[in-house]
Amino acid sequence: MSRFDMFGIPADKRQNAKDRVMATCHPRRGDMAFWPKKKNRDRPQVCNPEASPYAVFDRVGLEIGGKTILEDLTLSLDEARIGVVGLNGSGKSSFVRMLNGLRAPTGGTLTLYGAPAAEAELELPRHVGFVFQNPDHQAIFPTVEEEIAFGLTQLGASKDDSRSRARSFLALHGVEALAGKPVTELSEGQKQLVCILAVLVMEPKLLVLDEPMTSLDTLVTRRIRDKILSLPQKIVMVSHDLEHFDGFDRLIWLEDGRLRMDGEPDAVRAAYRQDIDLRLGRNPEFAGL
């Protein structure tokens, strides 16, 4: 044996170094040491779906590529209907994405359903449904039935079982006629409804909606909004239209990644409108954009 091995570790230190590696990689020596552990199987559940409040932000920050997106957010979420407003680029989308584990905070502590966000990440899609702005990016299957059934197979249902359950779920919501239709041939309103149902079928505790009504006409907007308000799930919804928050319990206003105001929807809406007027008065030209 040479004095140094291929890693340049002197012979007398070799055993020591190996022990150290073993200690960091495999804390329990009884495990099959060099066999990678099966991911997540038999992992204990870390989330408590009944946790109240379900989300606790403590000085949470988010930086992406050196740019600060969110800063110093401290708040907890528990109300049934929570709205989020703010100008473009205020960090609304990133904020709500944290609830589903789509963004991980880079500062502070975020506790979701009683568990640290990083540990909860893999379980979150079970408890938190997410509806995106553009249904064309969310519906990932060729037909409506497959789209709905996907959520059930994700939760472990067999193919046949998930398909029949998808069909009865569509019937329950009065749209069984859509079952066999190709997603590309639906109207915008139908598409968004299918996206919402595809998430609801997984029976989440919380439904997060990121500007779900942006591409819908006035009539369909009202229908979708009524649908959302009738759900038993807790709701967090982002919207630019302040009217959409009628009947909400709480409104959160973000500005430049920080919490600007948080409280009764009527009070926050009034202050938000006033702020918009102020900005227009101060900077009536397009330079203020």
């Binding site: 789509l102 990016h137 969310q138 990932i140 037909t143 996907f150 998430v199």
Partner: protein, 202 residues
Amino acid sequence: MISLYLQGDSWAHRLRAGWKLLAVALASLVLFQVVSVWAYLASLAAVILCYASLGREGLAQLKLLRSLSFVLVLLLALHWLSGTLNDGVVIVLRLVVMILAANFVSITTRLDDMLEAVQPLFRPLGVLGVSPRKPALGVALVLRFAPHMLLVYGLLREAWQARTGSRNSWRLLAPFAIQSLRMSDNVAEALKARGGSEGLSR
């Protein structure tokens, strides 16, 4: 819509995807040994009868042949020129029968049934650590998003035409590529929001 599936509840829809695929495979093995024109005409009649059993919509699917007619005629012409017209007829009939039979399976089998039937073929990938679920998901994504990409390209072309007056340009390729990449980012995010490609029952 490029998924060929024809919605319905006929006898052919109720047959298991695996049996249908196996039947087509066996038929092709047998038919490649046969050289009698009459045998082919009989099997052509049988296949057309299958389409007819689906009703008017089923027969309408035969228009598939129209897009193939050019190739078939060319094939026939080549054989005629080389003095082997008889062989040509047999080859063309063989192609037509096989294509119609395969298409019949496509239009009577749902995409996910088809994928499940061929999923065992992907099983060897498991050794490499690739779940057989992933190729299936990939095929579904292609079928879903190919028409959407055409739409995106159409919108880009409109925006181009509105400002330049010309209809098409190679310069649309770069923005199209960027839009496609951005779209795939969004789709990946939406997939992750529902538990990712591996599912939640891990």
